[in-house]
Symmetry: C3
Subunit: 206 residues, 3 copies
């Protein structure tokens, strides 16, 4: 068990919480993007890219602190992993949004909103869990629920891919939609990896 | 050189051996899948997914032990890497089998059986090598042979991709077959990464 | 601050510099490939694959030394990361060149030369930076410039993908070109990851 609650230690938890808040913003913007008319999409994607830059900044401040301090609230590698994996979630949601505009996609399959709903829920659970890293209290509910959400996302993803191959006859349109749907599935996987990292940290500290 | 042969140390080797045995099962099921009629495929893929769950459990018991014990037979990071990379092999073989059913593939190119044969051989070599981690004896034959197999798999993969682009005129069918063939190549790469991890461990201990 | 300038330490810098020199060769060969007639491509790709093998050897000698020595000029993990990420750059440039021949691509979009120009510049900057790891002097110019180059590469990549979807009507041709363009973008990302690793090392040492 290492020292806790010194200002330096504390701020890691604040930084992780800040990083996770950007994920809630990003997942929310994915929802807006689904509802937006094609003409409005660019503006939503622009805000997503701003959220991605902000999250990037939060990640870098964690890395900078990590590289320049000795006392850390838990293993350096775990802090590095957690920060990197939170950052992955944002990058993947940003890339998915970006593809929708870049590929000038006409309409997305209705089930994509199920994928986005899972990401929004996972982001909220992650943001709520980060402050609890300080006390390590009741984190298991979080990672169990995120793992359950990822299994649900995986089922949705598989149905979507099968549907795309059944219904989309234009191979180029199929190529575009498949890549967007895969990117959203990668984002769900990334949230699960965050949860697994938190589980690893909690097990070590317990 | 660290302590060996305490019960706790031993069980890591048993757990790695158990993990690798699931890979032999998985590679065998890939062979069955190639021989199966389309109607039987779902059942084979179901058994594959059970094998994947079992391998997952084996991986988690290694991680749990790793996170809760201090004495390890070799570097914690290497134990983590080895367990993760063994798990990757299973995941990729499972995903490949899954795609065959998900994409309702009609027939696979004959050369795919060469890819699967390499995976079966690599899985057997890996399972035979894991118990030898205890004594670190004659492991070099293992990693040299797995690296040779991966080079062979790579040549087969390249021939297959060229063949697909030459012979498959339906772009959607091409998309499906290419992804399955790539997944099998990724699995061969994953076995090589396991072998490289074992080499790293052996070099440190020597 | 750790011991520097012992022969053993020194040679790590020489090995990293050697590794980076292979990247300059590889990026140069990509340029040759763009200018080559289809009949000459195979020969260029052959030389690329020789450069890749040489880079592989350089990587392995670093790993071997790392696994068998105790004194290192900076953290073992950072040496491992830097060597691996330099190796990734070579692998990705090699794979990109390989696809041009494997896919029997007719003509590449003109903008691909912009992607290659960025890789050549990034390789030169990386090769020039490696010897400066010894003194840790003026490395920030290097990583800032490589990050700038990667942003530029990203913009080019996005324009290229949009262009491919707008102009290439044959989905199979689109599939081929998209994969090559993506591989070159992955190579640019790999150079940025090398720069980020150098930044991490420099921050720790500062």
């Amino acid at each position: 068990m290492r020292l806790r609650l010194t200002p330096r230690d504390t701020s890691y938890f604040d930084l992780f919480a800040a990083q996770a808040e950007h994920l809630v913003t990003g997942a929310g913007l994915l929802g807006e993007l689904l509802g937006a008319h094609r003409a409005q999409r660019k503006a939503v994607v622009q805000r997503m890219s701003e959220a991605e830059h902000a999250a990037d900044e939060a990640t870098h401040s964690i890395m900078r602190r990590l590289n320049q301090t000795f006392v850390t609230p838990f293993d350096r590698d775990d802090i590095y992993d957690l920060a990197s994996r939170l950052d992955d979630c944002m990058d993947l949601m940003d890339e998915a949004a970006d593809l929708v505009v870049l590929y000038k996609v006409d309409a997305l399959p209705a089930r994509v909103s199920d994928q986005v709903a899972v990401l929004q829920r996972a982001a909220e659970l992650t943001a709520a869990a980060m402050p609890r890293l300080r006390s390590m209290d009741s984190l298991s509910e979080y990672w169990i629920e995120v793992n359950r959400l990822e299994n649900q996302a995986d089922k949705t993803y598989r149905k979507l891919v099968a549907q795309l191959f059944d219904e989309v006859t234009d191979p180029i349109e199929l190529l575009k939609l498949k890549e967007i749907v895969e990117k959203l599935e990668d984002a769900a996987d990334a949230f699960e990896r965050v949860a697994n990292t938190v589980e690893t940290i909690a097990l070590k500290e317990s």
